[in-house]
């Protein structure tokens, strides 16, 4: 019998081996995912200081690897926060290192995205990544780093400090990677377009390997209310999180522990809960046994009297901005938008926003166009598995006099501190009953508005046509009867024509 060998693998090693789940499964997906991760980091960085994002992305051809794959150089520049120099190597060189673990709505959540891109670049192009950043201070910092995959640590290949004379603030990330741009191109362009819909206050520029320039210009400088950081809600807490909180808490009794580490738990609620769960209010949380922690987690979920989480940690786009984005990029004839009141699933607050756009430049494809967004990120893959698709398919559209052959685009945006993604690749939303209900209600509302618009439009069209028929034939009847009767001057038909158009207003 041979001895089993145990081997610890690092987080970066783990993701390197499982890069598929993060969306880097093939050269065409990889190039799309890399752009997307970096752009999202840039959007987060600008929004967190309420600056309308200016993002410049350039993808340039380096060399051919095979018939299908080439080496490209990707460069992404932004006007965001910038990164303090001491964080730069870890932010880009250590998987699961990030600043976004706190509970508020942001695009990034896993502390993974940017690194996966760089890691993928490193293993395909074998070159260090360059990061240039300044927080707007007197200096600009430049790092060339590689990732030590086994140890999940950055290796700093080069470091430079420059004077920041112009007071520049922002970040530039540049690295080489293997990819298949021409296969990825439609998705990439679509990604920018949809990002522009859901970020109408951002300027996005993309220069592709052919030298083509794609510009998506902001239509407003108004930005949504930024999210507030929040404590975890008791309904959303698991054993893992409880243990982490117990480790860091300075509070020495359960009452204070509950009051200070949980969202919307005050003295009264905490006391009631402790009574309900039979836990001693004066007990030091650090003294809880493992079994007690498990029981605590369970009781937290069972207690009915916690106040539901508020939504201040969320930053939905808002009806006005959503409308602006849709009008700007889809150029429809009509758009209806609706934002639902905040709701929760397993202790996580979320808000659904939906819109339905009709006509104008929206093509009639025989089925509705669906644009899905989560935390202002477009979701471009696995549309069929998404909960929004299921809701749309199960809705009775005929009730709203809407058919799939109409030029219609449906927009569904869900924001949450924890978007219920099915995968790390952030591609589609899982089918949670609470989420499904909110999407359905939002869609019903916008569908009703569309129905109203369509029936008004139909009425106007009918009346226009009616008026057209009358003003086409009445003068002829007048002309022929005048001649036939042997009269000189034609009868006055204005009165009749006016009465026709009066009918129309009824």
């Amino acid at each position: 019998m041979s001895e089993a060998t145990f081997e610890e693998i690092s987080a970066s090693d783990f993701f390197y081996r499982n890069r598929d789940i993060a969306g880097f499964s093939n050269p065409s997906r990889a190039i799309f995912a890399a752009i997307r991760e970096l752009v999202e980091n840039s959007l987060d960085a600008a929004e967190s200081i309420m600056v309308p994002p200016d993002i410049y992305v350039r993808l340039s051809f380096e060399k051919n690897v095979s018939k299908e794959t080439q080496i490209y150089r990707l460069r992404v520049e932004d006007n965001g926060t910038g990164i303090p120099p001491r964080h730069i190597p870890l932010a880009f060189g250590q998987v699961l290192y990030g600043s976004k673990y706190k509970l508020k709505q942001q695009r990034g959540t896993f502390g993974l995205g940017g690194k996966m891109a760089i890691l993928y670049g490193q293993i395909t192009a074998h070159e260090p990544a360059t990061i240039i950043s300044s927080t707007g201070s007197t200096h600009i910092f430049m790092f060339k780093i590689m990732i030590d995959i086994q140890r999940n640590r950055p290796i700093i290949m080069d470091r430079k400090v420059l004077l920041n004379k112009s007071g520049w603030r922002g970040t530039i990330v540049e690295f080489a990677l293997e990819g298949d741009y021409f296969r990825a191109m439609p998705k990439i362009i679509e990604y920018f377009k949809q990002t522009a819909i859901v970020n109408p206050y951002a300027n996005l520029t993309f220069v592709d390997p052919r030298g083509r320039l794609y510009r998506f210009t902001r239509a407003t400088t108004v930005m949504p209310e930024p999210p507030k950081e929040t404590l975890p809600h008791p309904y959303g807490v698991d054993v893992e999180l409880l243990q982490r909180l117990i480790q860091i808490t300075p509070h020495e009794n359960m009452l204070d522990f509950l009051r200070n580490h949980f969202h919307r738990v005050g003295r009264k609620t905490a006391e009631k809960f402790l009574e309900f769960s039979g836990i001693d209010a004066s007990k030091n949380p650090k003294k809880l046994s493992h079994e007690e922690v498990v029981r605590l987690a369970q009781k937290l979920k069972e207690f009915k009297e916690f106040i539901p989480p508020d939504a201040s940690c969320l930053s939905p786009l808002g009806e006005e901005l959503l409308r602006t984005g849709i009008l700007k990029e889809l150029k429809p004839e009509f758009v209806a938008v609706h934002q639902r009141k905040p709701a929760t699933y397993s202790g996580h607050p979320f808000i659904v926003e939906a819109a339905i756009a009709y006509g104008g430049e929206i093509p009639a494809k025989g089925q509705f166009l669906l644009y899905r967004f989560a935390n202002r990120i477009p979701l471009l893959y696995d549309e069929a598995s998404d909960v929004a698709t299921k809701v749309i398919n199960s809705m009775n559209w005929r009730r709203y006099k809407v058919t799939p052959d109409m030029p219609i685009a449906i927009v569904v945006h869900i924001c949450s501190t924890k978007v219920p993604y099915k995968t790390v690749g952030k591609e589609f939303i899982a089918d949670r009953p609470e989420v499904r209900r909110e999407i359905a209600n939002a869609l019903r509302e916008v569908a009703r508005q569309l129905q109203r618009f369509l029936s008004k439009k139909e009425h106007v069209n009918r009346e226009k046509k009616r008026m057209g028929v009358f003003s086409r034939y009445l003068p002829k009847i007048a002309q022929f009867s005048t001649k036939l009767a042997g009269k000189e001057k034609p009868p006055d038909i204005e009165k009749l024509l006016r009465s026709v158009s009066r009918l129309e207003l009824e």
Partner: protein, 363 residues
């Protein structure tokens, strides 16, 4: 409308023109008062077509339809109707004629295009219904033409020929019953009867054999189902000149019905008068003739028999026991014969033997 004495053609034209003008005036006045113009006319739907046993023709009942400009679905056809009235007025007053096909094309000049020939034909029928006059009265003629031959002198009223006279024996092929002849006045005749013949071959044979002289007859070729102008012409021969009319057709249901339409008209023309000749006689070829003269025959086929059953129930066939007897005989012998079948007894047999016998029999 139905008193057609000499000079009737000119009179009739005046009436038609006046009716058209009045139609225009009515609409003009409604428009001027700010009222949506409307026109009322008898309904031509089948529920409103009745057989009038006194008139011995189909007539329209009391049901009326109103075409109003207020109704957007009527607007187009209303406009077309007024246009057709104006077009007819101009034709009639300028003494020009045209065909249904011309009507269809002429509308385009007024940006009043018809969808198809059928639509424009329907509008002309509407106009007939509104006015109670047939389209020939406002100078719109069908394409089909039949002919007449015999000692009848007519006087033209068409421009360029006004006042000129013509004897209808002048041309050995006969004279075409076209607009000029239809609108001509009758001057004089020595004939004492009219013989209408279904087929051109026999018509020519009759002329060659001097039937017109030997029997003192005006010969009319119907060329199959008689066009309306020809039916109207036969009626005038009967009414204005008091000539009895005898009709010779093939010995089959179709020939029989050609005679019937001359006598009692068609349901399609229920809105019109003056197209029938109720006293005309169907003189042959009867089913009983087939038997009596032992004519060479063909078997009746399926549609012939179906048609016979239809005719058996047709109100027009109830007046005279002759019709039912002949229908029953056809159904019994299951045979039919053409007029040419008499040639089996020699080319002149039909004129020498059959014709005088039948004229006598149906007197």
């Amino acid at each position: 409308m139905n008193s057609n004495s000499a000079g009737s053609v000119v009179e009739r034209r005046k009436v038609v023109l006046e009716r058209l003008r009045r139609l225009g005036e009515e609409i003009y006045e409604q428009l001027d008062k700010g009222i949506f113009p409307s026109i009322e006319m008898p309904s031509r739907s089948i529920e409103n077509i009745y057989y009038d046993t006194k008139l011995r023709q189909y007539v329209l009942g009391d049901k009326r339809v109103r075409r109003s400009v207020r109704n957007i679905r009527h607007l187009r056809s209303f406009t077309q109707l007024i246009w057709a009235a104006l077009f007819s007025y101009e034709l009639t007053s300028q003494r020009k004629t045209s065909t249904l096909r011309d009507v269809y094309y002429s509308a385009q000049a007024y940006e009043m295009s018809f969808k198809d020939q059928q639509e424009s034909n329907n509008i002309i029928t509407d106009l007939e219904t509104v006015l109670g006059f047939s389209r020939e009265d406002f100078n719109i003629f069908p394409e089909e033409r039949s002919a007449v031959f015999g000692d009848l002198t007519i006087r033209y009223t068409v421009p360029g020929y006004e006042g000129k006279t013509l004897n209808l024996t002048s041309h050995p092929d006969g004279v075409m019953i076209g607009p000029a002849l239809t609108s001509a006045e009758f001057v004089e005749t020595s004939a004492d009867k009219v013989i209408a013949i279904e087929k051109g071959g026999l018509f020519t044979r009759f002329i060659e054999e001097n039937v017109h002289k030997r029997f003192n007859a005006i010969l009319v070729l119907t060329a199959g189902q008689a066009p309306r102008a020809t039916r109207h012409f036969i009626r005038r021969l009967n009414r204005e000149l008091k000539l009895p009319v005898y009709i010779f057709t093939d010995g089959d249901p179709w020939g029989m019905h050609i005679a019937m339409v001359i006598i009692s008209g068609s349901a399609n023309a229920a809105h019109l008068r003056d197209l029938t000749t109720p006293d005309a006689k169907w003189s042959g070829v009867w089913a009983t003739d087939i038997v009596n003269y032992k004519l060479p025959t063909d078997p009746l086929d399926e549609i012939d028999i179906k048609r016979l059953y239809e005719l058996q129930r047709d109100p027009r066939y109830q007046n005279d026991p002759l019709w039912q007897r002949e229908i029953n005989t056809f159904l019994k012998i299951r045979r039919k014969a053409e007029q040419e079948a008499f040639s089996r007894y020699g080319l002149t047999y039909i004129v020498d033997e059959y014709l005088p016998a039948k004229l006598e029999q149906t007197k």
